[in-house]
Point group: C2
């Protein structure tokens, strides 16, 4: 008897243990199905705080938890650290770098990648921020550039080394630009002899007319004022034409810069384009209202893989709460379906519940929108801190992050100003010219 002939105790394969996949795996009762969770990393990553690892505020283990640890109490659940190479929807199987997995139900939650709008060569000069390795690389690049500036005698090169360009005025770009400005202007201020880090130039590039376009215009304006107060040079309506070794060509001219960070685009995992299904320009799958793939009710897609306007007409955003809600929705559907023993039951459509939107900018600087309520500055910052502490996975991580924040707040220092990976050879050191 094939596994798929056994609807009473099906095999569910979950690809990716981000917010969507992990929520699904936690919500599906072990008594109803055998579950295999596959991820290429050994850890679940709390992405909303990733920029703080890149900006030397937090250590990598503070925002990551082993997937095995999180799910250890679930019987009938198996975690595999493996890379997905292909998905065969017709044969209902997944091909991994080691072996294959047949499934009765498949949860696609592979997440997003940094997208360069058709310029993959820019990645070399402008790393994105999606993984812990990305964050550690950005931290290394920027901290090294300041060290290089300290011994640089050519004034033009020194300015180049002390310039940081962040491309993209969404929440990640705003967080990175604000925090790097703060790092240079307060944390590093007294630590150098030959350079003055307060003269570091942090530029935030946004193609649209305002930063944080997903927020109401008043909050965008507030964020822009708060960024300016931290010393960020915000340039809206500015396009990136080219990124080369040591310089960025903008629609308004060329900037010589040693540190470029790309926060402008997210694409769905490239496997979405291999399924023979309709995707949008960013590779996101058009799914049915219940989140299943058209023609494949046994396959659900979640999170950053999905392009969806929900039944209330809301475009579901690519953020952690939306992915978690999708994971819970798919789990609830499967619970009813498996319990009923009927695969042809009508399924409820997914509805996104907008709990609000927040972005942090720096010390006591943030914007927040909850329902019709809008606020910014210190109250928004306090709300942001609380919400992120509450949702961070694991008691150890909550405590550690809370203490690091308290430490940084009281001392104006950063606990993770450590350069590692100097001997790794796959990434160039900041260019000197």
């Amino acid at each position: 008897m094939k596994a798929s002939d056994s609807p009473a105790f099906p095999h569910v394969v979950v690809l990716g243990a981000g917010f969507g996949g992990l929520t699904f795996a936690q919500r599906l009762p072990s008594s109803l199905a055998r579950v295999t969770v596959v991820d290429r990393q050994n850890h679940h990553l709390f992405q909303p705080l990733l920029y703080q690892v890149a900006t030397a505020g937090l250590a990598a283990p503070d925002i990551a938890q082993p997937i095995r640890s999180i799910l250890r109490r679930k019987p009938n659940l198996n975690v595999l650290m493996a890379e997905v190479q292909a998905i065969d929807l017709a044969a209902r199987k997944v091909i991994l770098d080691r072996g294959e997995l047949g499934y009765d139900y498949l949860i696609l939650s592979l997440g997003g990648r940094t997208g360069y709008f058709g310029h993959p060569d820019w990645e070399r000069h402008a790393p994105g921020l999606k993984s812990l390795d990305d964050a550690l690389r950005i931290r290394r690049t920027v901290l090294l550039a300041f060290e290089r500036a300290e011994t640089e005698t050519d004034p033009a090169r020194r300015i180049q080394l002390m310039t940081i360009v962040v491309v993209g005025g969404g929440p990640t770009g705003v967080e990175l630009a604000g925090t790097f400005a703060e790092l240079a202007h307060t944390v590093l201020r007294r630590d150098f002899e030959h350079i003055d880090p307060t003269r570091a130039h942090v530029i935030l590039i946004e193609a649209g007319s305002r930063v944080l376009a997903a927020f109401p215009p008043e909050l965008s304006a507030s964020a822009q004022r708060q960024l300016a107060r931290l010393g960020v040079d915000v340039r809206t309506g500015t396009l990136v034409k080219d990124i080369r070794d040591g310089e960025v060509e903008l629609s308004t001219g060329t900037v010589r810069v040693a540190n470029v960070i790309w926060a402008a685009g997210v694409e769905a995992h490239p496997l979405t384009r291999t399924l023979g299904l309709e995707t949008d320009r960013a590779g996101r799958l058009k799914v049915a209202p219940d989140l299943s793939l058209p023609g494949h009710p046994e396959v659900f897609a979640l999170g950053d893989l999905v392009s969806l306007v929900d039944r209330k007409g809301v475009t579901v955003p690519g953020i952690a709460p939306a992915a978690m809600q999708m994971g819970a929705h798919a789990a609830n559907l499967l619970v009813r379906e498996i319990r009923a023993g009927d695969r042809n039951r009508p399924r409820a459509a997914f509805t996104y519940w907008d709990k609000g939107n927040m972005a942090t900018i720096g010390r006591s600087a943030a914007v927040a929108q909850i329902g019709r309520l809008q606020f910014s500055g210190w109250p928004a910052w306090a709300a942001w801190l609380s919400v992120h502490l509450i949702f961070l996975v694991g008691f150890r991580n909550k405590l550690s992050v809370f203490l690091q924040w308290l430490y940084s707040y009281l001392t104006y220092k950063r606990g993770a100003r450590i350069i590692t990976g100097l001997d790794e050879r796959d990434w160039p050191v900041p260019p000197r010219a």
Copy 2:
């Protein structure tokens, strides 16, 4: 006028901000000299806890502090992140990867490297543990091997992946073997479906007749019993003949193993052999009783660079307290000499003050010797924890490490079970065969 003609306010160059160099820089008053501290890393590393980063107990930033932060309050002191390429004793200058530095006094505190007794090709298969990058690499290799074992179907390969060989029965080897055994037998125990981590095989290889040869024989015997209780297979009187991809050839036979860690030898920084002075087999410099180089009273060598029998006939060991005492000794000599304005004053000889010796093995397992007092087990472990917390640099690090230890003690978990650097390409993944 050359700088060296100005004995009233000399330029002192310190190469290396380990325990010796840092202590020297902290002790020398800023009013007496201009100081330049050079290090290839941006951080001072608390080496005694490095094995806990390798074994997933601590995060890298917990045991490291930016050198600039530690020394920020010292006027007339400059920190350079640079690599030393050559030392010209005759011309009194140091050649760095960027530029040169003339000096009036030179402090050589470049520290040690892992030594392979004439087999540099073994490094590829058996990394040593001297830097944060080494520690993160060992953590990645071992955690990945367990993940590979989980999907491995060949029983022989599975055993190979779950075997860890630690070469060298000194304190580092004992700490690594004990902690890896604990990691496998308690932490990972419930996390896998297909493998039983309690069957992991941790082998500690020692060429001599007992582990911890620097301790009294009774404590070596106690350490060996405590290691056996944790499940470590201790093999004394065993020589390593060869290390190849996936196996270690011992004098007693060949072991198939995916994880080999080299804790058997430390050599002085290779620059010591370029000075035209006498060194021992490990490249350590024979220094005068005052720690200066023979014929060069303006140059002092500290810590792991030095081979010295002090005036009481004690061979000074290559441990942190000895390096710190040497740094303080050199600083005190210079203070007197600069204040007196007389370079020909007779100098005091260095005397090592043996404060005792400790090694930890695992949870509630350690050995300690303080004067004639010898103890082991829980009291030695508590003493070890306290001493290391007290000497760890920085309040943030003390608090963070204390909380991580408390967490691990209470939960039997490890807070840093995170694999990073998967995409770095300079290190091979564990061999499959």
